[in-house]
């Protein structure tokens, strides 16, 4: 049977196992939308803004490991998808964005709703395709999914001129058994010689640290990471993107590192003699001043992307390879090796880490204590949330103080449960991302922790949640200010709150939630917090928006001292350096 371009596209998506398409129709995409109408394999989720579509598809991808798919029209539809593409690109998320394009003969004529999507998205995609022949659509979809999901994953754009989905032009559907591109060989196995060198270096370490990032989650290598540290018994820290790749409850876990990392994690990094970096990229929010970074450490760096190695910090032993294969090879080599771990030195080192934790570690029992100020501490909201959900929720977040508080105080024991925009830091990500997660796991608890600033950047998606019955729980940590901006203004700009406050013009979030057909709750006192959360989570089939008013003067600590600081230089509370 011959199919139109739109039908070829839908058939190809079905064959890739796509369950959901997040999208928004428009002129150039209308042939495709007619093809969507005629099939049942993929459910289309109509968002309220294309940014929401990309973040929802991205959230679905982060939670499931399968590529999320967004569909937008040309022009403004395409440009509205840009922030979502950049978000996925920075965090290496496999995302497929299909954009309608004006008819081929109109391209380049400034026609209605025309924009050069390929050109605009070029720096923020792993790859992009423009369909020139309708019969290529199945092959392009196959290649797009292959490229998005292999090697270092990333977003791929498929731009389809309207005439290529013309319902009167029919073609045969062909699907290749295997995809092979002469210019793209993503499968890299670690070099055995490098594994040997790394093994030797790691086993002779006296003060080793495992520094594991989002690559462990993307590479599905969390079990291997745990297995490695069953042998090494080294202190482990996770990046913001890596949280959940190593169980937070494990005694060797030090918490997150970096800008707002724990005291013990940052101190351990600074004082380590061997750092084992796994699927992490020495981002500037980790290293602080690169020239002052971990002065006595030798670096073993495992990454699938050779360009990530020695980009910021020189790697002494680079290992280019898939994280899982590399860890398996390393574990095998360690088991075979005759070098004995210096258990005495390691014991002293673990004790040192414990002392640091004792000295300035995070207080995970703030929620049990009486707060001197009448206001709720934002950290307490996260702690109560953790207990209300037994630590089992899928948690998405937006960007700012609330994001850091979740990273610090919600203990993630499983990979993929923590969904946030780490690299790009996109406000507005949390709610649509939670929709993607909830569609993937409808029976599980999905929570979006946000702030009154971030939530307003994609709040229109509350309407989508009603249409598709997505009973997400939204915790709005409301400090009536752009909290992280305000914190920087407190610390670096003499408390001059330039454009960071709006307390007299905020909406009534409870009524706002209600007007979208959801349940709204407001909390202003700590004594109400636990009960309100319990009540909200008991409402299994309703979206509940919980507006929690918190102390606006609270800062996120620890915080690395910059500029010109190293990882050991931290503010541990207001006006106090460690």
């Amino acid at each position: 049977m011959k199919l139109s371009g739109g039908d070829l596209l839908m058939r190809a998506l079905k064959d890739e196992g796509v369950k959901f398409i997040f999208g928004y129709p428009g002129g150039a995409a209308l042939h495709i939308y007619d093809s969507i109408f005629k099939q049942k394999a993929c459910e289309h989720i109509l968002v309220r803004h294309e940014q929401g579509a990309t973040h929802a598809a991205d959230g679905y991808s982060r939670a499931t490991g399968k590529p999320g798919v967004a569909l937008v029209t040309s022009g403004p539809g395409a440009t509205n998808a840009i922030t979502g593409l950049a978000t996925a690109y920075m965090d290496s998320i496999p995302l497929i964005v299909i954009s309608g394009q004006v008819q081929s003969h109109l391209i380049g004529t400034d026609s209605f709703q025309e924009t050069d999507m390929i050109g605009i998205s070029r720096p923020i995609v792993k790859h992009s395709f423009i369909v020139q022949n309708t019969e290529d659509i199945p092959r392009i979809v196959q290649e797009a999914f292959h490229i998005a999901t292999t090697g270092r994953p990333g977003p791929v754009v498929i731009d389809i001129p309207k005439d290529k989905t013309d319902p009167s032009q029919l073609y045969e559907y062909k699907r290749a058994k295997e995809i092979s591109l002469r210019s793209y060989q993503p499968r890299v196995l670690p070099h055995p010689g490098q594994i040997k060198k790394a093994c030797k270096k790691i086993l002779s370490a006296e003060r080793p640290v495992i520094y594991a990032g989002g690559g462990v989650i993307l590479g599905n290598a969390h079990k291997e990471l745990i297995a490695l540290n069953k042998i090494l018994k080294a202190p482990v820290t996770n990046t913001l993107m890596g949280l959940g790749s190593y169980p937070a409850k494990d005694k060797h876990f030090m918490g997150m590192l970096g800008m707002h990392g724990t005291y013990q994690a940052n101190m351990a990094m600074h004082n380590a003699d061997v750092i084992i970096a796994i699927g992490a990229r020495f981002d500037d929010r980790i290293t602080n001043t690169p020239s002052l970074f971990a002065p006595n450490a030798r670096i073993v760096h495992i990454d699938v992307d050779p360009a990530s190695i020695s980009k910021i910090i020189n790697a002494d032993i680079p290992i280019v390879g898939q994280v899982r294969e590399s860890l398996n090879a390393l574990i095998k080599e360690i088991k075979r090796s005759k070098i004995k771990i210096d258990t005495e030195a390691l014991e002293l080192w673990n004790q040192q880490v414990a002392q640091w934790k004792e000295k300035h570690g995070l207080d995970h029992e703030l929620y049990l204590k009486k707060n001197k100020s009448q206001m709720i501490l934002p950290q307490v909201v996260v702690q109560e949330l953790y207990h209300a959900t037994n630590g089992n929720a899928w948690v998405t977040s937006d960007v700012g103080q609330h994001q850091m508080f979740v990273a610090q105080y919600y203990h993630f024991n499983k990979p993929r449960r923590w969904v946030n925009s780490g690299g790009l830091g996109t406000m507005g990500f949390g709610l649509p991302a939670a929709m993607g997660v909830k569609l993937a796991y409808p029976k599980d608890e999905v929570v979006c922790v946000t702030g009154e600033g971030s939530i307003q950047m994609c709040i229109q998606e509350l309407s989508t949640c009603l249409q598709y019955n997505l009973p997400i729980k939204i915790i709005n940590i409301n400090n009536e200010a752009l909290g992280m901006v305000r914190q920087w203004q407190d610390m670096n700009y003499g408390g001059r709150y330039s454009a960071s406050t709006y307390s007299d013009s905020l909406p009534d979030f409870v009524n706002l939630a209600r007007s979208y057909g959801h349940v709204g709750m407001k909390v202003t006192k700590q004594s109400q917090l636990k009960k309100t959360l319990e009540k909200a989570f008991a409402m299994k089939d309703r979206l509940v928006f919980i507006d929690v008013y918190v102390d606006p003067n609270e800062h996120v600590y620890p915080m690395l001292v910059s500029p010109n600081g190293s990882m050991k230089d931290m503010w541990i509370k207001k006006n106090t350096k460690a």
Binding site: I118, G119, R122, P123, K126, H127, S128, I130, I147, R152, L181, R182, S183, Y184, D305, P306, A307, S310, K311
Partner: protein, 124 residues
């Protein structure tokens, strides 16, 4: 220092833009650029000269290698290589320029009352 980078790439629309764009995105500058189809015409060869430290060039070549359409990247600066510059020049009659070009084995392609077109090539 000056570097010569040779890139074998798919001869597809947009492939060149991906490479050129990358230099800008990563904060590097292209000094000269030459592109043309090679082999069966489905490949292109780009020769790019740029300036940067060894680390810079390592990062550039790694990033170029990540472009899906790129097949091979080599930094020619380090190894044995031949380096020539070719010039095709149109100028108002000038004995002086003609003499210089002649000394470089220059060839005259066009000559009339007003202008001359000459070519020359040599080692830089």
């Amino acid at each position: 220092m000056k570097r010569i980078i040779s890139i074998l790439i798919e001869n597809k629309s947009g492939a060149l833009a991906r490479v050129v764009g990358l230099f800008h995105q990563r904060g590097y500058n292209i000094e000269t650029l030459n592109v043309g189809p090679v082999f069966d015409g489905s490949y292109s060869r780009m020769s790019v000269t740029t300036r940067g430290s060894e680390n810079d060039v390592e990062q550039i070549t790694k990033q170029i290698n990540k472009i899906i359409d790129v097949i091979k990247v080599s930094d020619l600066t380090e190894g044995d290589h031949h380096e020539y510059e070719f010039i095709l020049i149109k100028f108002k009659h000038s004995e002086k320029i003609q003499k210089i070009l002649k000394s470089l084995n220059g060839k005259i392609h066009e000559k009339n009352q007003d202008i001359m077109v000459m070519s020359a090539w040599g080692i830089i």
